[in-house]
Amino acid sequence: MNEDESLERVVLNVGEFYELVTGHLEAAFGRRRPQWVRGEIAKVYEKSHLYLDLVDAGSASDTRRPVLNAHCWATAWGALKRRLAADGVTLAAGAVVNLRGYVDVYAPQGKIGFTITEVDVEGLLGDLAKRRQELIARLEREGLLTRNKELPVPVVPLRVGLVASPGTEGYRDFTGQLVRSGYAFDVAVVTTLVQGDGAPEQIVRALERLDAAHCDVICVVRGGGSKGDLACFDDEGVARAIALAQTPIFTGIGHTGDESVADLVAHTRAITPTKLGEELVLLVAQWHLRNVRQPAQALERFSNDLLEEASEYLRERRRTVVFAVRDRLRAEVRHLGTLRQRLVREGRQLVETETKWLASTRQLLSAYDPSRRLAQGWSIVTTRQGLLVRSLADVDEGSEIDVRVSDGVVAGVVTRKVAP
């Protein structure tokens, strides 16, 4: 029996075997000496501790592929998990990761494993970013980045579908804006998770349900959080559900600076839930301004102008009537004055004319004055009754007559009548 054969004859019990294996491994790797391992996560299981099955990238379908059982104990996993979440990294199946840790042997289960002490976040982020860009490029090629943006938004978007988690700050911020506006928003809420593995599926179902409910707009709302919290809004299913919806989708996700794929495909993107509420209220307020307040203001101005115009018209008419009547009366007074003057003038002329006429007539008549004839020796014979005797026929013989001469009357009796 040579030395090798004598060594082969050493029979170890199981515990000794694992001690030997552990010793050899520690000799090869160094005791708890850090070692980087790269692989694709095949399985993830978390219960206080984190358990990963790591395989070589691209070998997931190969049943004979080597598998590394990696784990991160709860004492380290808590802090590591928070850091990953802050960076928006989720250790999910399919992700290719670089893990830092050390080899160990877990004899109770007969496993050689790997204790994780660190995860290469930079590498993971790069991978996530790359996958995100690939998703965006796919959506762009399919025309899905602009599809929802092309949908018209109703002029008064009061029927609002809301995908959110009631009780969260983002929900309160958004709905608070609508309530404070005083407008009659009718909000149909479909409650979903807004972070975590189950969130994308719930969000997709909520979008489909509200899309069928014929809302004016659907708002997807989520307050600020870590990149990991918001990762569900980079989900391809969520992005496609938004892009293909028949209703305009508005997003208010995270804080300023966060831009998810959901934001990119949405019709309208606000930087926060509060801003989204403000924008929605603004749309209604603009309509209200154009269609209610401005017409009301115009109506107020118009009625005031009309009343003022009518008042001015009546004031002017009143003045005009008063002045017109005064003018008319003055004109009549003037007319009467003129008539009076005319009458006086014409009366005087008439008197003068008549006076002249009388004088002329008097002069004319004087030529026929009997006294003048009597003075010349003529006499006037009248009957005793005073009738002129112009002819023999006017008297009878024996009738009494008076013979008027210039200085008196000679009474006589007709003794005879002699014809010439």
Binding site: E300, N304, L307, A310, L314, V321, A324, L329
Partner: protein
Amino acid sequence: MTNKGWNESADELNAIVASFDEGEVSVDELFAKLERATTIIEDLEQRLAATAAKVEELTPRLAKVTEDE
């Protein structure tokens, strides 16, 4: 007063004023036309005051619509 509309009454008033301007009104008619014009003006003023009062009544409601939220 008749139930004439504002414009109809205003037309009648304008016609009376025009007849004054044109000197068509005889002294016999002057008083009757002046009385008629005064009646129309008073009626229109009453109507205007009533309308203004209604507008005043509506203005707060309109202001409520127009004031900033």
